[in-house]
């Protein structure tokens, strides 16, 4: 098995980098310079960068080094460079939401998530590429971004996933230690799976969305892309907590302490997926289940007993809320500056949704969430392949993809459940595959313990892309 000590420094975990900083084996200035160089070279070559922040980052790194040297307040994140999806506002940056039609939305303040990481001592090194407007109107291909198609560090002919495309690609390329992303339906878990990194989608309401672009008020979540589940726990500890500026954010604070957990007490369900057309996924998934058994878990088959049309309701609500959020822009003559014309059409169509139909969808959602949550009477955790497909080719429309997409994004996002995607192997084209663990609302601790235990017994998350 590969050890983290075998990896080049850019690919080490936050936990490891923090130890290097504490021991004085590296300075934050050196670390930040290294990541800035990699963002400029590798990050830009994958179209993963929206805006570099070298002056700010190097000044902040100097401050972090001084804090460490003088014994001032410091955390595990002090001096650790990170990237933020261009959906988040940040002081001194141009926030464009991935859109060629938005020169700068003019939010010259730190989004709550950016501020929380800065407050913990982390250093914002770059704003990262994303699908324009987080893909709210749906989109036809990888090119739906102001920065062009975000390329996959495992194979440049394939897409990095979206909408947190740059966050996934930059972490995979060792261009940042970690990144902020967001998910409404799949925007963290998909790039995590495609890029072979670890992606945490916390519970709806766990992390404040203040200063983040709204796509769907009732479904948007701030997410994390990092190298390990342990790193996700470190970051979630800095990010979680109520915020009066985001009425949805009522969640409690979070304190991640890796270590012993009672695996035998956790009831784990395997969500059924038809993998007959994707034997490589099935093989990797069954091996992952075997590893979970080695971790002391006893997964058994599980099934969501649903009559409500969950995926349709989720699509409808995102369409209605996304078009409402961006109504003035959609009606303006700037709409046609978006890169993807399918997205233009989808945003326009969403304006035709009437109030009574939207409320009906929310009524069905209440019933659907009630049905979905019944599963937690029998289980504490669910496990499934994140997706049934590898990263899609970058030069072909998504509709041309013949492999079933799979995924658990509709139920999980409609109900606001937390989930984490972990690397679990490789598909037929040697591209990463993801394992998804899903938990009840606010049960991130169990989720992270199991994910951490899985990564202690595997090295899929330590494999490096050949392109970098």
């Amino acid at each position: 098995m590969i050890s983290e000590f075998d990896l080049p420094v850019p690919f080490r975990s936050i936990r490891h980098l923090s130890k290097l900083l504490s021991r004085g084996e590296v300075t934050s200035t050196a670390l930040t310079s290294m990541y800035l160089e990699r963002l400029e070279k590798q990050g830009r070559s994958f179209n993963a960068v929206a805006q570099m922040l070298p002056e700010y980052a190097l000044q902040a790194a100097n401050d972090a080094d001084r804090a460490r040297n003088t014994g001032g307040d410091r955390s595990t994140l002090t001096g650790i460079p990170f990237g933020a999806k261009d959906l988040f506002a940040a002081v001194g940056t141009h926030t464009r939401w991935g859109s060629p039609a938005h020169d700068d939305v003019g939010w010259n303040f730190d989004a709550a998530a950016v501020a929380a990481l800065k407050s913990a001592g982390a250093i914002l090194a770059a704003k990262l590429a994303m699908v324009e407007l987080a893909g709210g109107g749906s989109y036809s291909g990888a090119g739906a971004s102001s920065t062009g198609p975000c390329l996959n560090p495992w194979n440049r002919e394939h897409w990095a996933g979206g909408s947190s495309s740059g966050s996934g690609a930059a972490v995979a390329a060792g261009a940042v230690a970690c990144a902020l992303g967001s998910e409404t339906w799949g925007s963290v878990t998909v790039p995590a799976a495609f890029c072979g990194v670890t992606g945490l989608r916390p519970t709806y309401g766990r992390i404040s969305r203040y200063g983040a672009m709204a796509l769907s008020w009732s479904m948007d979540k701030v997410g994390i892309l990092a190298r390990t589940a342990d790193d996700c726990g470190i970051l979630l500890s800095a990010l979680a907590g109520a915020d009066v500026r985001d009425p949805s954010c009522t969640g409690p604070s979070f304190n991640w302490v890796p270590g012993h957990f009672k695996a035998e007490d956790l009831r784990v369900g395997i969500l059924a997926h038809d993998m007959t057309r994707t034997p490589e996924v099935e093989q990797s998934f069954m091996a992952a289940i075997d590893t979970l058994v080695l971790c002391g878990l006893h997964p058994v088959p599980a099934e969501l007993n649903l009559t409500a049309p969950v995926d349709s309701v989720a699509s409808f609500i995102i369409m209605a809320e996304g078009s409402a959020a961006h109504r003035e822009f959609i009606l303006s003559n700037k709409l046609t500056q978006l890169a993807d014309s399918v997205q233009q059409a989808g945003l326009l169509a969403g304006l035709a949704i009437t109030t009574s139909d939207y409320i009906r969808a929310q009524q069905i959602r209440t019933v659907a969430v009630n049905q979905l949550n019944q599963i937690w009477k029998d289980f504490d955790l669910l496990v499934a392949p994140t997706l049934l497909t590898e990263a899609l080719p970058v030069d072909r429309p998504f509709v041309d993809n013949e492999t079933p997409w799979g995924g658990n994004g509709g139920p999980g996002n409609l109900a606001g459940w937390p989930s984490i995607s972990l690397p679990m192997g490789f598909g037929p084209n040697a591209l990463p595959l993801g394992l998804e663990l899903i938990a009840p609302p606010f049960a991130e601790e169990a989720l992270l313990h199991v994910a951490h235990a899985y990564q202690l017994k595997t090295d899929w998350h330590l494999r490096l892309p050949l392109c970098v």
Binding site: T307, N333, V342, A352
Partner: protein
């Protein structure tokens, strides 16, 4: 849901507010999106929300969706 319902709503309520007229390509894509929206509406209206085991749930529709508490 009648086929063309979303198109009718769009033409009556939205199209007059557009800053520009749409290109032929965008108009064609819009018609497809409106048809897809009709499909979603069909699915939503076919689900009898009052017939579920706990019909009172249907009157609890809220933007805070059952996960804001531990």
């Amino acid at each position: 849901m009648d086929s063309g319902y979303s198109r009718d709503v769009f033409d009556a309520a939205i199209r007059p507010m557009l800053a520009n007229s749409l290109s032929a390509e965008l108009e064609s894509l819009l018609q497809k999106s409106l048809q897809q929206l009709d499909g979603l509406l069909d699915t939503i209206h076919q689900f009898d929300v009052e017939s579920v085991s706990e019909p009172a749930l249907a009157f609890q529709a809220t933007l805070r969706t059952g996960n804001a508490t531990e």
